[in-house]
Symmetry: C2
Subunit: 412 residues, 2 copies
């Protein structure tokens, strides 16, 4: 249990957690969830051969020696069904998305024709069969699986669910998450101002980290350093799928929260990880709940959330992509590393040719919450590193806000 | 207006839209919004010099010739205030986060000491002044600006807002968005099944694309190809900050929706963009509203949303990062390009050494919605491209779901 690496601790967490089950949600509320069922097409789409252009549906043989003048027998709009069969020397005026009439084997766009009269058109070019026709079932075929269980529901998936008219959809249930702060030194958001206290930033930073995943957590409040009060709070927290307990620096998660959790039936899997910030970082398994004991200061607590709680919650939601996206980028300055723990340095990123330049947010003290509010990524300094020189190629985990950039993508 | 490039059209859109104003929201609801005020610290944090370790607060001069045995005069926990002054030969037991008592100038961690009795401790090593002390104001200084107007509210920002006890915060208001589909061929989600109709996927795909930004749009429904009905729907839509109108393939956005919008006072800025999919793509400005005329088929509509509506909505929300993040990656196969429009190819990405391999989702017909549900990115084929060879370095705009990856970041 001593000298547990970040990777090894992550593996324990991710192996331990279980998916809390399946539920049905409305199409309007399913974005970001994970499909728990295969979805099949319930019709051919398009339901018939349709025109891909505004133009004329005709028999290709009739225009083999174009130009040729044809008789317009019908106008077909999207939503109309053709009523006539196109015979030799005939054509139908057709709009994009409208069904190709029987008899016609091709479509020619209006730009390649010339009006002769209301009922006659001159076709100026020859055209092969099946030109500008979208064949029946091109988009989907009745009965085929169009979406697989396990897919994350992105807007494209929502569109496909609407295409098969799924009003409700089976998804993995979201874990219910409770957040508890501990410590006599803490001042609640709505408590009166006391210059000697420390505001409870942890509850709200963790709340927001959970909200990023689309989960609305419950804030249990602040447990004071009083054994029975703490026990009652923890007991309440264990009614949720996931309990996040942070702080309690005066007595320490290891001295006080941990034995109370154990007395409540929680099996602790680990309580220290070789990382900085975040050395005291605990994880336990209860009958119906998973408990994370996070460090007391907000920076450490947030970094531990990123490394352990985030992948756990995403796994519980049914995701297979559970870790923050990483990029390889260029470090702009030296970073010293004189211990044997993995370090997560809060960094800012600047675009440069083909990649990014990485710069520390400044002082990395774990009490400096501004370093998290400015951070665009967490640079990983491996445990065995002897320090990194300016110009080194480094790995950065991208934090929230980095899904978008200032400049338009590419030149076009 | 002819031959308008994607970049030029984006510039028109982004220059035209305006921020709809400022509102106050609760801390619990501010994630993802943009700060509309500077935030100042309202206290020093920490409020006093605090210990960074569990250990002993003492006078460094007393241990210049360590080992030395000192008298323990007090126990100080986080949340306690010291009641005594440390004199020569004395120390105080101190917990992480607790105030350093007067008289003491340094802290030594418990691991470097040895208990002698309940009231005496042997200090084994010498220690410099200010060791393991977090100075008052290290985290923030009373009155300093800790968060700037214009910052996106990430979890780190939420933590900082909680640290300064902001129950409410001023943010840019979200635009109100209405979505309208048009066309006789469309079948609503709750309409009875009709094999000859096409389900209205657009309304829901666009809904989800708007939801990604944290905005809940209003779905106006489907306007049939009937002038007065369309006019009423559009008039209703113009009551919102942004109106998205898609479809109407039977009559065309250019033949029918556009003149109706103009009759309603909308000044059209453009109605065609040199792109594929999405050639018919309109943008107009009304007195209190911005209107996007999107193509009728869902793939084109979604791509146009990505390129034009997304940056517009993010700009209106106050963001400066308004475009999808792009990566440079390796194309695994040839892509032909025989026209002079910018093409957006739906692609999947596979991790490879230092970057990604890019592969088309398959057939790129704009009626093939599956290509959007599988897509992880949009590969940009510039208008002037003569085609791209396998192995080419290409630009890919990352779509939703790509903020996370399968593997843990780095090795640690």
């Amino acid at each position: 249990m001593e000298h547990l690496s970040v990777n090894a601790a992550q593996a324990i967490v991710v192996r331990s957690v279980q998916l809390p089950g399946i539920e049905s949600v409305k199409l309007e509320q399913c974005l970001g969830r994970v499909l728990a069922e295969d979805i099949r097409a319930n019709r051919d789409q398009p339901p018939y051969d349709v025109s891909a252009m505004d133009g004329f549906a005709l028999r290709s043989a009739d225009v083999a020696n174009a130009p040729a003048t044809l008789l317009i027998i019908e106008d077909i709009r999207a939503g109309d069904m053709p009523t006539k069969t196109v015979q030799a020397g005939q054509c139908a005026r057709i709009m994009t998305g409208a069904p190709v009439p029987p008899g016609a084997d091709t479509v020619i766009r209006v730009e390649d024709t010339q009006a002769v009269s209301d009922t006659q058109v001159q076709i100026n070019v020859t055209v092969k069969p099946n030109n500008d026709i979208r064949p029946r079932g091109e988009g989907m075929r009745n009965g085929e699986v169009v979406l697989q269980a396990g897919m994350e529901i992105t807007p494209g998936v929502v569109g496909m669910l609407a295409m098969v008219k799924r009003i409700d959809v089976q998804v993995y249930r979201q874990p219910r998450v409770a957040i508890l702060s501990t410590g006599d030194e803490l001042e609640g958001l709505h408590d009166p101002f006391n210059a000697n206290k420390i505001p409870d930033a942890n509850s709200y930073a963790l709340m927001a980290q959970v909200q990023v995943l689309g989960i609305q957590p419950v804030l249990l409040g602040i447990a004071r350093d009083e054994p029975e009060e703490l026990r009652q709070y923890l007991q309440q927290g264990l009614k949720y799928d996931v309990l996040l307990v942070s702080g309690g620096t005066s007595v320490g998660v290891h001295d006080y929260v941990r034995p109370t959790l154990e007395a409540l039936g929680v099996q602790m899997k680990f309580w220290r990880v070789e990382m900085k910030p975040g050395h005291p970082m605990a994880f336990g398994v209860a009958a119906d709940s998973f408990v994370f004991g996070l460090p007391g200061n907000p920076v450490s607590s947030m970094v531990c959330f990123e490394e352990f709680v985030l992948p756990a919650l995403r796994r519980m939601m049914g995701h297979t992509r559970i870790y923050r996206r990483t990029i390889t980028a260029r470090l702009t300055h030296e970073v010293k590393h004189k211990h044997s723990r993995t370090e997560f340095v809060r960094v800012m990123l600047a675009r440069e040719e083909g990649s990014y330049a990485v710069t520390s947010t400044g002082a990395q003290g774990s009490g400096i919450l501004a370093s998290m509010s400015k951070a665009e990524g967490l640079m990983v300094v491996p445990a065995e590193s002897k320090g990194m020189a300016a110009g080194s190629s480094v790995t950065v985990q991208l934090l929230d806000g980095m899904a978008y950039q200032h400049e338009a993508g590419g030149e076009y």
